[in-house]
Structures are given as C-alpha cells and as structure tokens.
C-alpha cells in the first residue's frame, strides 16, 4: 500500500489529476500544491479545463486518474468531509430566484446544518458586507446581475468554509460590478482568512493573486506569482503595426529577440531598461510602419507568450 504524505499546511494538493471524457482530456495530469491561506488563480481560456478541475476538487465529478486532497481529505473517498470544508460559487447562479435574499441564505445555511440563530447572525453580517442589507426581503429575481452574484458568493460562504472555490466570479458582469465583486472577495479574504481558489479568463483580474497557474488544454503551462511572471517577460512590450511586417520582423529579431504575432500586430519583448533606445527604434522605423508603441506587460501577455517560449525552446534544443 502506498503511504500518503498528508501535509496539513496544504489546503489543496493534487497529483496527476486527470479527467477524461471519451477521447478528450479535459484535465491532463494536474499537479497542485496550494498552501492554506493562499489566493490562487487558475487562468485560461474557456474550455481549457478550469471548471472540470473545480468540479473534481469539490467532489462533484470523479477524477479519471490521479489523486487530490482538499483540506486534508481525499476527494474520491472522503467526499462529505471535503464538501463540509469548502464553499463553491459556481459559474452559473445557484440561487432560487423565487425566494427572497434572506430565504436563500437560510436555505443554504440549513443545508450546511447551521442552527437558525447562527444563520440569521451570519446573514446580517454578510449582507452588510456585500451591501445587500436593504434588499434582504426582496426576491432574487428583482436583484441586478451584480447583486445576484454578490448574494451567490455570500451563499457560498455562509458556513465559513476553510477553502472557497470561485468559478469565474465576474463573468457576464460590467466593469463597475466586477470591481465590486473583487472588493467583496478581498474583504472576505481579510475577514475570514480563507484559502481562495479562483478561475477566470479575464487574466488581468488575477493580478492580486498570490500565485497563478495558466492552464491550456488541461495542462498547466506556466505557474508562479503574477508579478514574477510579468517581470520575467521584460520591462516593455513593443507593438508594431504596418505593411510587409515579415521583412521587418526578420530584420528586428536579431536585436529584439523572438516575435509574437498578436492579430496584425508584431509584438516584441523589450528586456532593457533604457527608454532612449526605444525612442531611437521609433525614429529608425519612421515611416516604414503605420504604428509603434510600447507598454508595460500584463498577465495577458504572460499567457500569449507561453506559446512563443515553448516554440523558442524547442527551436533552441
């Protein structure tokens, strides 16, 4: 028998976690070590395996292969203990639209076996925190999209989970509402000291995470603290637009390194610190191009350049 090494300081631990549907690999051998209290982001485009990962970690689907421990419990064999320790906010609402705000929280609280007095107390706290206090007796169907999402998060934490899974918490919301939701998540993290496992495809929103992993076709392609990943790209991203770019790229590549085509823009990483050389480059390109700009890199760039580095490395070896 295999001896399991249970590290109690790890909130989530996955080893070779795999989910296969027929011939398609939704999640392909995922390894994760997420310490207690960490704000972790799993980032990637739609269909890259984020939701399948959350569903496996929250015991709603069985892994085809591999193991995972959540709050120290095996997701395959101790599903109830895992579910007792976690809160999940799904991509789609889990609320009953015909019930009021308070009734939804009461329903969720009772399902988690909380005494009524405790539910009432925590509901007031959460509704205060999420700015829904005045709406408590309104039916959910009368709430705005942002308020509904806030309530769904409150619903997911009413039982004070140790680990909170947030599957695309800001999807479908406008910018002000997205900001609000992030503020709520930040407050929850400070008030409850909860480990947060987040997925999003709005990559730039994950910049406040302690650590992010980029997932692509079910595999983690890059992992690390967001600022380290961004800094590793270089100081600036140079974007060049114009006609006949391929000749230009060929002439610039020896100096600027690999090029990434983002649509009709040629992008280079600029690892130097000296803006003067960028200005000189601009003067040199002159009217050969229709546009050139440089900007700070962000998490989107990290994801875009993943491909390039893979390509670059294979070319080198």
């Amino acid at each position: 028998m295999r001896r399991d090494i249970v590290d109690t300081s790890l909130a989530i631990q996955a080893e070779g976690l795999t989910k296969r549907y027929g011939n398609t690999l939704a999640v392909d051998g995922l390894n994760l070590d997420i310490p207690t209290g960490q704000f972790f982001g799993l980032l990637g485009p739609n269909g890259s395996g984020k939701t399948s990962t959350i569903h496996m970690l929250s015991t709603l689907i069985r892994p085809s292969q591999g193991t995972a421990r959540v709050a120290g419990h095996d997701v395959k064999h101790a599903g109830l203990q895992v579910r007792a320790a976690i809160g999940v906010v799904f991509q789609e609402s889990a609320l009953d639209r015909t019930l009021s705000v308070a009734e939804n929280l009461r329903f969720a609280g009772l399902l988690h076996n909380l005494p009524i007095a405790q539910i009432n107390e925590r509901s007031s706290e959460l509704l205060e925190l999420f700015g829904l206090k005045e709406k408590r007796h309104q039916p959910v169907s009368e709430l705005s999209g942002g308020q509904r999402r806030a309530l769904d998060i409150a619903r997911g934490v009413i039982h004070r989970p140790q680990i909170l899974f947030l599957d695309e918490p800001t999807i479908g919301l406008d910018v002000p509402n997205r900001r609000n939701i992030w503020r709520f998540i930040e407050r929850l993290r400070t008030e409850l000291n909860v480990t947060v496992f987040l997925t999003t495809h709005y990559l730039e929103e994950a910049v406040d995470c302690d650590k992010v992993a980029f997932i692509k076709q079910g595999r983690i392609v890059k992992i690390g603290p967001p600022h380290d990943l961004i800094d590793s790209l270089g100081a600036y991203i140079i974007e060049i637009e114009g006609e006949n770019l391929s000749a230009l790229i060929a002439s610039l590549s020896p100096r600027l390194g690999p090029c990434f085509m983002d649509g009709d823009k040629a992008c280079f990483r600029f690892t130097g610190k000296d803006i003067a050389s960028l200005v000189m480059l601009q003067a040199e390109l002159g009217d050969k191009v229709t546009g050139m700009r440089w900007r700070r890199p962000n998490l989107n760039d990290v994801f875009l350049w993943v491909n390039e580095t893979e390509l670059w490395q294979t070319r080198k070896t």
């Binding site: 709603l60 579910r83 789609e92 609320l95 329903f107 009772l110 399902l111 988690h112």
Partner: protein, 269 residues
C-alpha cells in the same frame, strides 16, 4: 445531522406552495370541477345506483386527484431545480446525494397532503363527507397516497433532465395513472386488460383506501376493491421501492456527473 437539510428542503417546498396562489387555487378547483361537473353530469345520465349517487362515489377519487397532481408537480419541481441551478446548492452540501431524493419525496408528499386537507375542508363544507367517515383510515389514506404519488414523481424526476419533457410527463403519466385507477369507476367492473392495468397501478390502492375511509362499509357496487391491509402494504411497498431506485439513480456517479455538466454547460450554450 441530516435533519436540518431535510427540513430546509421541506420548508422551501411549503413556502413555495403558499406563495404560488394559482397552483393552490387550481389544486382546489380541479377536483371540484370533476365532482360538480362530471359527477353531476353522469348522475343525470345514469340515475342512482342503489342508495349512492355517482357524485358521491367520485369523492375519494377527487380527493386522491388533489394528491396525485400536488405530489407529482412538487416532485417534478426537482427537474426545475436542475434547470434553474438550485440543485447546485443541494449537490455541494455535505450530505450523501440520496438524501436529496428522500427530502424531496417527503416535501412533495407534504405538499400533497396539505392540498388534500384543503380539498377535504371544501368537501366537508359542500356536504360531501357525511355518514361514517373512518378518520384513522382517512389519515392513513392521505399519508400513504401522498407518499406513493410523491415517490412516483421522484422516480420520473430522477430520469428527467429538462422541463421540455414536462408536458409529455403530464399526458403520459399523470392522466393515465388517474384514469386507470378506479377513481372514476370501480376496478372490478373494468374490462380485463384495463382491470390488469389498474391492478398494477399503485395509485389505485390509494384511491381504494380512501374509498374504505369515505364510502364506508355499505355493500354497494361502488365498494372498495381491495382490503385495507393489501392497500397499505402495496402503497408503502411501492413507496419504498421507488424511493430506493430513485436514490440509486441519483447517487451513482453517472447520474450526477451529467447533471453537473448540464449545470456547467448552460453558460456556453
């Protein structure tokens, strides 16, 4: 403990029942239409049989009908829960998934029993409950019939993914179950094929028990068809069997795995 989650499901069902006025109203009106329109019509056509009117014979049937419709609609709301996403709250809670089936069955049965009691009050006020109602049998009849209808509904709900099939279910299940149950005519007078179908229809035994309770023991052609112990045994036996099957269906990986996908997929559609 599992008591609070089960209570949560029941409380939500009852809350919704009293909030949906039209559902409650139609549950009251439907049996009365059968009793006052169909019953009176047949009475006028057939004349009386013995000392009992056909309308009077229909009383157990329409009482049963209030439970059949009440329990089925409540049980099938499980399908609505799957579609609307409320099921997510249930599947992520820390109890075994078969408790969802048990809690839903109990809440559907309670919703049905409440509707039956309201119809019972109406029947009493209209003077249809007169001589020799056997109260213990009436209570037993309401409890077991509600349970049998609820577990029948859950059996269907466990296999139904979308509400698109809902109208089909109504037409293919609820109406045949009602028509082939002895609600409208004594089972013993049916042609053999229909009598066979009525005999394997568990709901028949619920109506039969209600006949024992309401029509009394007077020997007429409108008498109950089976004995009280047989009725109760069949009703409880079927409830148990149906609930176990629905629980198994709900707990198996293959049952809730597509379910969570259905829940997850909606956004990308």
């Amino acid at each position: 403990m599992i008591l609070r989650p089960v209570y949560a499901v029941i409380e939500r069902e009852v809350l919704k029942l009293f909030r949906q006025r039209t559902r409650l109203l139609s549950a009251m009106v439907r049996p009365l239409i059968w009793l006052l329109v169909i019953g009176a019509g047949f009475d006028a056509m057939l004349g009386r049989s013995g000392n009992l009117s056909y309308q009077y014979f229909l009383v157990p049937g329409v009482l049963g009908m209030s439970m059949l419709f009440g329990a089925m609609l409540a049980a099938l709301s499980t399908v609505y829960d799957k579609e609307s996403g409320v099921m997510r709250m249930l599947v992520i809670a820390p109890f075994e998934h078969y408790w969802i089936v048990i809690a839903k069955t109990l809440s559907a049965a309670l919703a049905a029993a409440i509707q039956a009691l309201l119809v019972l009050v109406l029947l009493f006020l209209l003077g249809y409950l007169k001589n020799g109602v056997v109260l213990p049998l009436l209570i037993a009849g309401i409890v077991t019939t509600s349970l049998v209808c609820a577990s029948m509904g859950m059996l269907i709900a466990a296999w139904t993914r979308t509400l698109d099939n809902f109208a089909v279910m109504m037409n293919l299940v609820i109406f045949p179950v009602f028509f082939l149950s002895g609600s409208l005519y004594p089972v013993q007078h049916l042609p053999s094929v229909l009598r066979f179908v009525a005999t394997i229809n568990p709901y028949t035994y619920g109506v039969d028990l209600l006949k024992h309770a309401i029509l009394g023991i007077e020997a007429t052609s409108f008498n109950a068809d089976f004995s009280v112990p047989v009725n109760i045994a069949v009703l409880l036996g079927f409830t148990l069997l149906a609930t176990v099957i629905a629980c198994l269906r709900f707990s198996r990986d293959t049952a809730y795995e597509p379910l969570i996908h259905l829940l997850a997929r909606k956004r990308s559609d």
